[in-house]
Symmetry: C2
Subunit: 422 residues, 2 copies
Amino acid sequence: MAKSYLSMTKDELLICLNNVKSEYEALKSKGLSIDMSRGKPGADQLDISDGMMSVFEDGNFKCENGMDVRNYGILDGIPECKKLFADLLEVKPENVIVGGNSSLSMMFDYVAQCMFMGAGFTPWSQQGKVKFLCPCPGYDRHFAICEYLGIEMVNIPMTAEGPDMDAIEEAVKDSSVKGMFCVPKYSNPQGITFSAETVKRIANLETAADDFRIIWDNAYIVHDLTEKSDELVNIFDVLPERNKNMVIEVASTSKISYPGAGVACLASSVENIKEILKRLTIQSISYDKVNMLRHVRFFKDVEGIKAHMQLHAKILKPKFDAVVDKLNSELSGLGIAEWNVPNGGYFVSLDVTGGSASRVGVLCKEAGVTLTNVGATFPYGKDPSDSNIRIAPTFPTPEVLSQAMDVLVASVKLACLENLSK
Amino acid sequence: MAKSYLSMTKDELLICLNNVKSEYEALKSKGLSIDMSRGKPGADQLDISDGMMSVFEDGNFKCENGMDVRNYGILDGIPECKKLFADLLEVKPENVIVGGNSSLSMMFDYVAQCMFMGAGFTPWSQQGKVKFLCPCPGYDRHFAICEYLGIEMVNIPMTAEGPDMDAIEEAVKDSSVKGMFCVPKYSNPQGITFSAETVKRIANLETAADDFRIIWDNAYIVHDLTEKSDELVNIFDVLPERNKNMVIEVASTSKISYPGAGVACLASSVENIKEILKRLTIQSISYDKVNMLRHVRFFKDVEGIKAHMQLHAKILKPKFDAVVDKLNSELSGLGIAEWNVPNGGYFVSLDVTGGSASRVGVLCKEAGVTLTNVGATFPYGKDPSDSNIRIAPTFPTPEVLSQAMDVLVASVKLACLENLSK
C-alpha cells in the first residue's frame, strides 16, 4: 500500500506534487474529450433492447382487454403493463399508473400538483414556506424540482444504512416540512440500499404535516451489477394505516430498455392514485400505449426483465470494476479519498478530503474529462465540504473509461497535494 | 322539402309526434350499442400508419446530428422532427418544441406554468381572479383545463368567420382576462375555419393584460376532407411586435398517425420557447425521440403528411357524407335544426331549436346511441340555449353510422315535436 500523504513531510509532499504534476501534464497533453457527466447507458446496452422494434410485425395491436392500443383511451395504462409494473414493484395493479417515457415527469407533475392543488389539504403553496428533506449526496434532478417550485431544501446526511434517520425524525416535527426525495436502492450516487431498519423507520415517521409525501424513486430497482443483489424492503408492506398516503413510488424502464423511449410508472395508495388521475384526466387522454404494449410483448414478465438486466450487468460490471480497480490501485492508503463499491446502480461515489472536489473537477475539465458538476449531488449545487465526486462509468467504452480514470486519479492526487503542501 | 314543423297546426304536430314516436320505438327495440361520443379515428385509419412500425428494421437509430435517439438527451426534439413540424406550421425550427404523444399535455402544462410561475410577469394565480375567453361551442378538454386550474371562463359566441371579434375586443379590456383557447381551423365542433380578417383582428388585439396568451390549437391543420382545403392565415405572420409573445400554437399527429402514440408539437416566440424549456429541463430529460424519428422516417416531409391525409380523407369523406345526407333528407325544411357541412376536421355540429338538445341526448342514449355529452361543447358543460349536439362520425363503420344517424334524426324530431306540441 502507498504511503499516506497525511503522514508525509512537507518535502516529501513537494516531491510527490512535482511527480503528479508531470503525470497530469502528460495526460493533459493527450487532448482528450470525454464526457462522464451523466448516468447514460452505452450503445451496446441499447442494442440488447432492439428486439422491441419488431414486436408488432404480426399487426396485432390489441391489448388483453381487446382495446386497440393505437387509438385514444385508457388513462392509467393498459392492463398487462400495469400488471408488469405491479409485479416489479410488488404492489397491486390498482395501485399503479403507467406513464410516458419519464418517471422524472411523473415526479415533477406530482410535486407540482401538491404544491398548487394540494395533497388532500390546502395547496402547499398556500401554507407559507414549504421544505423538503434531501438525503445527500443525492440526485441533482430531484433537487432541481424543489428549487424550480420554490421548495426549500434541507440537507440530510447519508449513512451506510441510508439517510440519517435521527435527523429525519427530528426534522419532520416541523409542519412546513412537506416531503422527502429518496433513491432507496443503489442510491444515486453512492449505491447505498436503505437497510430494513431504515425503511421501517421511514414508513413509521410521525410527521407534523398531515400532507407529508415521500417520493420513493426506485430508479435502480432491478439494476444489479452482481449476483449478490441488495434487498430493499417494500415500503408499502410496512406502512402503518396512518401513513397510507405518504409514499409515491416511481420507476421506469429508462435503464432497462431505452433511456429516451422507455416506460415509466408510479405506485401509491388508491386514494393518491385517484387524486393523480383527477389531474391526468385533464392533462392528457392517455400516455403512449403502443410503447407500453411493445415493452410487455418484449419483456413478457418480471422474470424477462430480470434476465434482461443480467445482459446489462455483463456489460456494466467490467466498467465498474475498472473504476474501482483504478481507485484501489492509485488512491488506496493515500489518506485523501474514500469511495463505495456498489452492487448495482449507475455510479461510483468518490469523496476527497480537504475541500478539493471542485479543484478536481477543474483539473479534469482542463484535461478533457467532464465529470458531473462537482456540487451537483447536493441541494443548490453546494457540497458543504466540497468533497463529493460522482463517477458515471456506464457510457464510455472500457478503453476511454480507462483514460478518463487516469485523468481523474491524477487530478485527485494533484488537487490534494496542492492543498496539503500549501 | 318536408313541411316545417313550425307552420303546423297542433293537430298536425300530434299526428307527426305519433308517427315519429313509433319510428323511434322501432329503432329503440333494436337494442343498439353505439359510441359516438369522441372524435376517434376508425381502425382502418390506424392501419394506414402501420408502416411506421418497421422503419428501424435497418438498426439505424441515429438522427441527423449523429445522436442515438434511443439514449438520453435533446430536450426540444430531434432536428429533423423540429423541421418537419416547423414546415407543417410554417414557422422556423427555433420556434418549435417537439413533445410527447399529447398536445393536450403541452397545453395543460403551459397554462399551468402561466398560472403558477407566470407568463413573464407575476404568476396569474397571484393576480386575483383570472379569466379565459372561450369561443363556443368549442372543445370540452380546453374548458376542463380552465376549470381544473380555477380559471373563470367567459363564453364568446362563434360566427361563420370564427369567434365574435367585437365581443373579444371588448372583453380583453379587462386585465383579468389572461387568455383564450382557439381551434382556428375546422373548429371543434363546427368545422369553421377562422377568416383572414378574424385572424388579423386576433393578432392585433389590444389586451389590457401584458401577459395575455392565446392557445392556438391547430389540431386539424392538415385534416381536409375534400380537395377544397380551407385556408388559415398563419397568425405568426400577422402578429405585431407588441404581441410577439401572445400566441402558443400546438398540433400533433394524433389524427395523422396514431391517437395513442403520435407526436405533438408547440410553436411560439423564441422568448416563450425559452421560458417553456426552463420548465421542461426540470420536468423531463427528453420526450420520446425514437417515436419522433419513427414519424420522420415514415412521413419524410410535409408532402408525405399531406399525401397520407388524403388516405384518411378517402375513408372519412363517405362517413361525413352519410351524416350530412341523412340530416339533409330527414331534417331539412322542418325548421327545427341547423348544421354545418365542414371541409375538414372531425365533427358535424348540429343545432336544434327550443332547448331540446339535452332531450335528444337522453333519447339517443335510451335507444343505445351515446353522443358527446350534450352541453360539453360549452364551458362548465352548460349550453345556454341547450341547442348544440356534436356528431363524431369517424369511429363507427358506415353501416353502424347509418343506424346511429337513424336514431339521432328520430330523436331530434321526437324531442322537438314533444316540445312544440306541448
